[in-house]
């Protein structure tokens, strides 16, 4: 079976689409045939982050409604092989997504031989978010070091444990915590929740910490997922995260403030 992974958060704007793009690209770079689906019906954005916005002809809802075949709607990524994007509809509403329709697309992707299906969830806990997580085997819970994001992540964990296909069958979705927009300097100053605090509160295994980084904006400006920027801190942190997801043991990086000189250390 294809392994289905939802990237979810509850709260909006925490980095789900950035993460979905980087994650799917990282999996494909390692040779896995990967599809990444935008579930944010009405607010399509994954296409922009992946740099394929001008090649969208058909979308996810067209496929669900049998207005286009999956092969017609899938967009081949221009950066890496083995990667395909299924864009969201820009015009319909979220009710277009049904469990049967989504399930059929998942089955068809499996038939086409995809190893991984990455589902970029919309914010909130409404239908779009529910459908994005429904068939998931794994969930990447994206959390910012900030009170409302942590609380919403806990809400989402509750839904993963009760409202998914796996939960309904008495199985569980594997949960992974990904902390993004982390700023070690602010943590050190006591202005930002530390990684350890978030872990203690949510009690979900940590799969990565992505630092707050200018490279993310640059990547979205150019339409190339940040993981392709191999010199950037965020790009490297995303690469570590993909490797951990695939079972490698990789130490966490970018958690400490860069070393300062002796005097600054003493008085800063």
């Amino acid at each position: 079976m294809s392994r289905i992974v939802v990237v979810t958060s509850g709260k909006g704007g925490v980095g789900k689409t950035t993460t979905s793009a980087a994650f799917a690209t990282g999996l494909a770079m390692r040779g896995y045939k990967t599809a990444v689906i935008d579930f944010d019906v009405g607010l399509r954005n994954l296409d922009l982050i992946m740099g394929c916005e001008r090649r969208v002809v058909y979308d996810f809802v067209n496929v669900i409604n049998n207005e286009a075949s999956l092969n017609q709607a899938l967009i081949r990524d221009k950066h890496v092989e083995n990667l395909h994007i299924l864009p969201a509809s820009q015009t319909r509403d979220k009710d277009a997504l049904t469990p049967e329709g989504v399930g059929r697309v998942m089955d068809d992707l499996h038939e086409l031989g995809f190893d991984f299906i990455v589902c970029d969830s919309p914010a909130g806990i409404e239908r779009g978010a529910h459908m994005a997580m429904y068939y998931a085997d794994d969930a990447i819970v994206v959390t910012n070091p900030e009170v409302s994001s942590v609380r919403d992540s806990d809400r989402i964990l509750g839904l993963l444990q009760s409202k998914t296909h796996r939960a309904e069958r008495g199985e569980s979705v594997r949960e992974h915590l990904l902390i993004t927009r982390y700023s070690p300097a602010r943590v050190q100053a006591g202005e930002m929740l530390a990684m350890e605090d978030i872990l203690e509160i949510l009690a979900v295994p940590l799969i990565g910490v992505i630092p707050e980084s200018q490279s993310v904006l640059q990547a979205s400006n150019s339409g190339a997922p940040v993981i392709l920027d191999k010199v950037s801190d965020a790009g490297q942190a995303y690469d570590d995260f993909v490797r951990r997801f695939l079972g490698e043991t990789v130490p966490h990086r970018f958690l400490e403030v860069e070393k300062k000189g002796f005097f600054k250390k003493l008085f800063g």
């Binding site: 509750g158 943590v187 202005e191 605090d197």
Partner: protein, 85 residues
């Protein structure tokens, strides 16, 4: 951390406050989630009844639901106001 900061740490940092607030609110929400659907309404009703007799704030009433092996337990904790008030 510079060692001068050591003397400035009289007040808890805002991150520490955030952590404590989160721990409390998330603990409550988890209990609601795992408990029966009537729990939030039950809590409101109980508050209303008690307020007929003593003035209390929301934080002073703690309704907890715990799942046991054979039976579930509903635990009600009410902290009454200070006696000299």
């Amino acid at each position: 951390m510079g060692w001068f900061n050591y003397f400035k740490q009289s007040k808890p940092t805002s991150a520490k406050v955030a952590k404590e607030r989160l721990q409390i609110v998330i603990a409550h929400e988890r209990l609601d989630r795992n408990g029966p659907e009537y729990l939030p309404q039950l809590r409101r009703d109980i508050m209303e009844v008690i307020r007929k007799y003593v003035p209390i704030s929301d934080e002073q009433v703690n309704v907890q639901f715990e799942k046991g092996a054979d039976f579930d337990v509903l635990e009600l904790n009410i902290a009454l106001p200070d006696r000299d008030h």
